[in-house]
């Protein structure tokens, strides 16, 4: 509830009563102290408003400064930024294109989403509808801990622990399902897009799971009892009452998870063996690279133009995640209004 419905605190007694006669109103104290307090009110309001505006300013500044610092490098670029698959911005003849990076970014994130979404929905349903009610809080907290582990630690674990396991699994998949387009390619299996996707999936799982759990818990008991009273089993009740109600929220949560995967940097930079290729052979070493990981990996050795090229790639990432996030928020907002009408 906001105070929006209350009449505004007036700062000027004369304007406050437009229809009132001109005579003074003796019962209202108009001391210097009152005026000072009103001034305080106006100042505080102005302060909080400018804080709000400065936040908008920061987002605008992010876009502006990325563009400004990317332009010189883009002007020096001898390749086409939007269509070429090279990344050699530190050369005397700088040549760089975003295609391979953007492809790798989207591919790894979409794969991560495909792996994380079903598990996250299962986790959310487990906590909201299957596990004993008393444990729900603790179990939710345990899953939230997954989100608390820093990405650099996931990277470390991914390269030193998980990589070996993924190599074995990749060899298995390649051998038995090599006909499948994603599982083809040569047979060196470590540090692949597949490994990066698994690490990303683990990182976005808690985001999707906890937001979905929230919407599942918001489903009115009356809806669920209505389904049960018709003789629905637990799954049928979930399918009839819970999932349709939670669908917009789940879609929003999924998009937020996607946004997070698209922008994840360090974990990918650590586990991935980078290559500037457009390839679907996700099991192979050197199967791709992502925009964010490329910034982290290339930053230390970047020339001035090289930094500009990285900033330009960051601008593309900013634009992609902005679109994904705006869509996600729009879906969640619509859902909120819908829930409010119930």
């Amino acid at each position: 509830m906001s105070l929006g419905s209350l009449p505004p605190v007036t700062t000027d007694p004369a304007s406050a009563r437009p229809g009132a006669p001109d005579q003074p109103v003796p019962s209202l104290p108009r001391t210097a102290g009152r005026t000072a307090e009103r001034r305080g009110d106006r100042a505080f309001r102005g302060l909080s408003l400018s804080a709000g505006l400065s936040l908008l300013g920061i987002i605008l500044a992010i876009a502006v400064f990325l563009v400004v610092k990317a332009i010189p490098a883009l002007q020096d670029n001898t390749a086409s930024f939007l269509t070429d698959r090279v990344w050699d911005p530190n050369n005397a003849q700088p040549a760089f294109g975003i295609v391979a990076l953007a492809f790798g970014t989207v591919l790894s994130s979409v794969l991560a989403l495909l792996m994380a979404l079903p598990v996250a929905l299962g986790v959310a349903l487990f906590i909201s509808h299957v596990a004993p009610r008393r444990l729900a809080g603790v179990l939710g907290y345990v899953i939230d801990l997954l989100a608390a582990v820093p990405s650099v630690v996931y990277g470390l674990w991914g390269i030193f622990f998980l990589n070996d396991k993924v190599v074995v699994a990749s060899a298995f998949l390649h051998e038995h399902a090599g006909w499948f387009p994603l599982f083809g390619g040569d047979d060196i299996f470590g540090r692949s897009i597949f490994l990066a996707s698994i690490v990303l999936a683990i990182m976005i799982l808690p985001i999707i799971a906890s937001l979905s759990r929230e919407v599942f818990l918001q489903v009115p008991v009356s809806q669920q009892e209505a389904a049960l009273a018709l003789g629905a089993t637990r799954w049928e009740m979930i399918r009839t009452a819970v999932l349709p109600f939670g669908k917009p929220g789940v879609i929003g949560a999924t998009m937020l998870g996607l946004g997070r995967a698209l922008g994840e940097t360090i974990a990918v930079a650590i586990v991935l063996s980078p290559a500037f290729v457009v390839s679907l052979d996700i099991l192979s070493t050197n199967s791709g690279n992502t925009i964010a990981a490329n910034v982290a990996l290339g930053f230390a050795e970047a020339s001035s133009t090289g930094r500009g090229a990285l900033i330009a790639s960051g601008l593309v990432l900013f634009a992609i995640t902005l679109v994904v996030n705006v869509i996600a928020r729009a879906i969640i907002y619509r859902r909120r209004e819908f829930a409010g009408a119930l």
């Binding site: 105070l3 302060l47 909080s48 920061i58 598990v119 650099v152 799954w235 995640t321």
Partner: protein
């Protein structure tokens, strides 16, 4: 099928009206599990299947299939689907739990080897990747300073934005600000780093520093703090505000002396969670503080390190000694973040405002 009367329909429901339904007992299911385990063992003995993880996967899949089939025959399609979904849901939770346990155990195992005095009291100054010893003191100092500065900047600003949205904001502007707070939550941390790089370092020419890193972390913390504070301020009952306003207390003092203190535990929780989140950020710090091996006492004097950055840079080395240091730093970081998370929950418990 023909309708015999307007009110008395043909029996459109295929199920029998009998309330008695055969159902699988726990004993039957346990027996099924035993059979599946035996079959799986047999499979692993006869075929070239091997490995513990493989065994678990094959046994689980076989069990789910067997349970679904048996239940379908005994209990009917609807209940077998219900069982299948319930099993899948429980399995999802266990699948999600596996990496968490694995990360924590592996980090503890690897990190404890260098969890010693030197690690916390020495830096990497004149310590090569090959050298034993050395520590992360400089990184710990850097993390504390960067996160501290970011907190100092983002908390007042974030609280003011939240106050504007909840207490003053109305109409389009407030809605716009709210929306962009949410959008800002989704800005990748590397973009925040690139922003400070192009604005502060390349644009204004200040050079790498702990303060530049703090600026990037502020961009990341700000929306988190606004959102949590906003949620908390909304929970403060309107009666409280009206009671204060009715006493003649001006709105700004009502906010500062009534609303904010009431929401305080929740706001503190939000701040702690935001701190825990940015404390683990590597990418923006890499682009803005760059990293160094020495202790840099001032966040305004050139490159500085931080714990996550230390992990990233040490882990890039092929030397076991450096990688050990990375693991110990990872363990330290996880411990600090977990403690912050735990404290945050404890503070929430003391809050009188409930959702």
């Amino acid at each position: 099928m023909t309708t015999t009367s307007a009110h008395r329909p043909p029996d459109v429901l295929p199920q029998a009206r009998d309330l008695q339904q055969p159902s699988l007992s726990r004993t039957a299911l346990a027996g099924l599990a035993v059979v599946v385990l035996l079959v799986t063992s047999g499979l692993f003995a006869v075929t070239d299947l091997a490995g513990r993880a493989g065994f678990v996967v094959v046994a689980t899949l076989l069990y789910v299939a067997a349970q679904t089939a048996v239940s379908r025959v005994v209990e009917g399609g609807r209940r077998s689907v219900d069982r299948l979904v319930t099993t899948a849901v429980i399995a999802s939770f266990l699948i999600a739990l596996a990496p968490l346990i694995s990360v924590l155990l592996y980090t503890a195992e690897q990190g404890l080897t260098r969890f010693d005095w030197d690690f916390f009291y020495r830096s990497l100054r004149s310590i090569g990747a090959r050298d034993p010893g050395g520590g992360a003191n400089h990184a710990i100092v850097g993390t504390l300073q960067q996160v501290g500065l970011a907190t100092l900047m983002s908390v007042p600003l974030g609280l003011l934005v939240a106050i504007y949205i909840v207490e003053y904001g109305r109409g389009r502007l407030a809605a716009t600000i709210r929306f962009f707070v949410d959008v800002m939550t989704g800005i990748p941390s590397i973009v925040a780093g690139l922003f400070v790089l192009s604005f502060w370092i390349l644009g204004l020419g200040f050079g790498y520093s702990g303060f530049a890193a703090a600026l990037a972390l502020t961009v990341l913390m700000l929306p988190v703090i606004v959102r949590s504070a906003e949620e908390m301020l909304k929970l403060v009952p309107n009666d409280l505000r009206e009671a204060s306003l009715a006493l003649g207390v001006p709105r700004w003092r009502t906010i500062l002396s009534i609303v904010l203190p009431t929401a305080l535990p929740g706001v503190v929780t939000g701040i702690m969670l935001a701190v825990a989140r940015v404390m683990g950020e590597t990418a923006p710090v890499l682009l803005t503080a760059f990293g160094t091996a020495s202790i840099v006492r001032s966040p305004f004097e050139g490159p500085q390190s931080s714990l996550p950055l230390f992990i990233y840079q040490e882990a890039a080395s092929p030397q076991g000694t450096a990688i050990s240091r990375a693991w110990t730093a990872a363990l330290t970081l996880i411990l600090v973040i977990m403690v912050l998370n735990l404290l945050a929950r404890l503070v929430t418990r003391r809050s009188t405002l409930k959702k």
